[in-house]
Amino acid sequence: MGMTMGEKILARASNKDVVRPGDIITAKVDLCMSNDGTTHLNIDIFEKDLKAEKVFNPQKVIFIIDHNVPSESAKTAEVHKKMRRFAQKHQISLYEGTGVCHQIMIEDYVVPGQLIIAADSHTCSYGGLGAFGTGVGCTDFTSVMNTGEIWLMVPETLKFVIEGTFKPGVYARDLILKIIGDIGANGANYKIMEFGGPAARNFTIDDRVVLCNMAVEAGAKSGLVEADDTVIEYVKSRGRHEMVLCKSDEDAIYEQTYHYNLDDLEPMIAIPHCVDDVVPVTEIGEVKIDQGFIGSCNNGRIEELRAAAQILKGKKIAPYVKLLISPASNAVYLQALEEGLMDIFVESGAMVLNSNCSVCWGSCQGVIGEGEVLISTGTRNFKGRAGHPNSSIYLASAATVAASALTGTITDPRGMIG
């Protein structure tokens, strides 16, 4: 009886030949990361409660300031000060304002086969590079930061077999929204979502990360795509050469297998206030918007910015509508500058923001008021997440957000691609 790639990564991390779903393992962690959403709590537990002296390995602990950056209040400035002090004391890497934590990790740290624990729910993003990432709270994180180990239950795996090719105006973002709509916000609770099939071979790095990033919105512990030449080349191009390639065995056991054909996929949208309330954009009717947002760990990479620019080029966003764009990292920002995308955005009337969690996190910038409607490429549309408790968030692709910003109502991007 074979193993899935997720089981193989967990077996390696726990120094076992075989693990099976339901096994509880103690695993060694390859990397751990925490951001300014909760690191102040980790530091308090570490110093005051555990009275710990050392992190397990300064090379494997990463702090990233991305949630409230630059700080918008004296309180978050204190959080950042605490992180800087701790990072300096323990000689661990600290990033501040250079990008959303998961994008920084993908650019600078992640390689296939790793087990990565981070104090953020979207840690499952690293499955895009064939690494097992999962989010924990600050108590578990503090223990990992101290010992380098964590206990985990080996989850069941769900397989998503994907065929066909994306049609123009349809993206990985639409696919993951469609899948979450089908299986529900707890359809993969505690499980691994493994994305594969003939179409996966053509997926770009961005596509893979988009799919795995939102696995947690279906409740999953992790999302994974098998690392192939595309991933190996990317990781090597970033100067990382050591990796462990894990492939699912032919006789691996999946709890369930789902089939999707990209030829049949159209632009999708999640309506307020649940990520699994998903319909095709063509069925949404007339919905006026007040603000659009393109960015976040799900959808702020270069390919999404290109898709938005294709639609915005030479056009102006609708009167009284705001469009906010935050590239997922400074590397993405610089590439967008080089490709002339920033000129297109600014000339269209969009506001270009620094690289950070931004509108998706709902406290730092671009907060919306009572009764306002946001269409976003962020990760969640929970009630009140973007500001006032009585406001609404729709989730869609960067192309759909851009098209909607031009018309002022939610708009199918197909046919608007210049």
Partner: protein
Amino acid sequence: MKKIFSGKVWKLGDDIDTDIIIPTQFLALETVDDMKKYAFNPLRPELAGLIKPGDIIIAGKNFGCGSSREQAPEILAALKLNCIIAKSYARIFYRNAFNNGLLLLENNEIYNFCNEGDQVSVNLENSQVSLGEKTFQVASIPEDLLQMVEAGGLVPFMRKLNSK
């Protein structure tokens, strides 16, 4: 810890997410006591002020979905709820809750029978929850997890073990 207790029910629906439990804008408040006043603010702003120590929340599926913010179970523990009984929980929240001394029980049916304000009794010895004449089975919680809940979570539990 107390194995038999009862409490007044507050009833919430499906998919109660972490942004509802504690919205982002209150996360930087300095203490848990400052934060707990805003529990469930986007959904029912008055609720945090009404919850009394020993009360019980009964909810639908996927309670605690969303972010890994540990302030969510932390403030619910600070409100001194006896426990939460939901149809199911999101993975990260489940782990965080026990780590913060918040007892979670799982049952699919009681939700369909109870009303807000009802009195519910919990017996952890036989893993049963009763509502009037009806009883419902919950999965048993291992003794060491109960001890962790009693100690107030993983960190105080470890401190207690280390001092022995």
